[in-house]
């Protein structure tokens, strides 16, 4: 029986690079697709009603409430502020304060994105506790 075998036997020849790169790139794509996407978000608080006596005057006077009306005009404790300056103004106010808490009240016709923008700016200004002043929060307070 003649050796009618084509191709070399024994040691492997030169590896074909193209299929190798092909398979490796496909594996890379698979791992890129697998990476989990972690949800990101902003923390907000809706305080439960205070069961004890009413909070004293000093606390009420010191609360910072950022409001946005239907015309998207922002105000801090009734003082109108341009939204571009909101972040710096908040940083200013909280330079002398330890309790980094603000409340946000928005007109119901606004979009959630508008309020999210304010919360975002507040987070950027370093305020950790942001309360949402909803109708129920205001009533229960």
């Amino acid at each position: 029986m003649a050796m009618a075998v084509g191709g070399k036997k024994g040691a492997m020849g030169d590896i074909n690079v193209t299929p190798l790169i092909d398979v490796l790139l496909v594996l890379i794509i698979i791992f890129m697709v697998i990476t989990p996407r972690i949800p990101h978000g902003l923390d907000a608080l809706v305080p439960q009603p205070n069961k004890d006596k009413q909070p004293d005057e000093s606390v009420l006077n010191r609360t910072i409430v950022v409001t946005m009306d239907a015309q998207r005009q922002v105000a801090i404790n009734q003082q109108p502020v341009d939204i571009r300056g909101l972040g710096d103004k908040l940083i200013d106010i909280f330079k002398t304060r330890n309790d980094r808490i603000i409340f946000i009240k928005g007109d119901p016709t606004l979009t959630f994105g508008d309020i999210a923008q304010i919360i975002d700016i507040a987070k950027g200004a370093g305020i950790d506790k942001i309360g949402l002043m909803t109708a129920a929060v205001e009533a229960g307070k």
């Binding site: 299929p19 978000g41 923390d43 305080p47 939204i83 959630f112 994105g113 508008d114 129920a136």
Partner: protein, 146 residues
Amino acid sequence: MAGHAKAPPTVSDINVTPLVDVMLVLLIIFMVITPLLQKNISVDLARTMNPRAMPDDDREDAIEVAITRDGKTFLKKNPVSVDDLTAKVRDMISGRLDKTVYVRADARAKYGDVTKAVDAVRAAGVEQLGLITTQIERPGNISVSP
């Protein structure tokens, strides 16, 4: 006519490399398609610069309230009315240490609808909310229209 030797019977070894290649590509296609086929409520999240990672929203037992652009509320992907929301959330948080509720609101949902849902959740005893948003890098992206 000289007798030519008969050609040996054709035996083909399967080329493994192209096989593996095609299989992996099919695998990728299915890996990409499957999450999109799940019942996912379409919500365009608000774009923010300073969100923090909230990995607990991915958990099986995470309480997620979704609010679409037209104001429909969903509790863990199931449609629910705002009135039922309080009772259902109260059930879900009973016996839990972490009473955080995640709110996945569309950026163009009316804030009034979001407030109603938030009030309902608050009535169930929840204080801590996580408002889910997407992260953007460049500060110039936020449209600040006066």
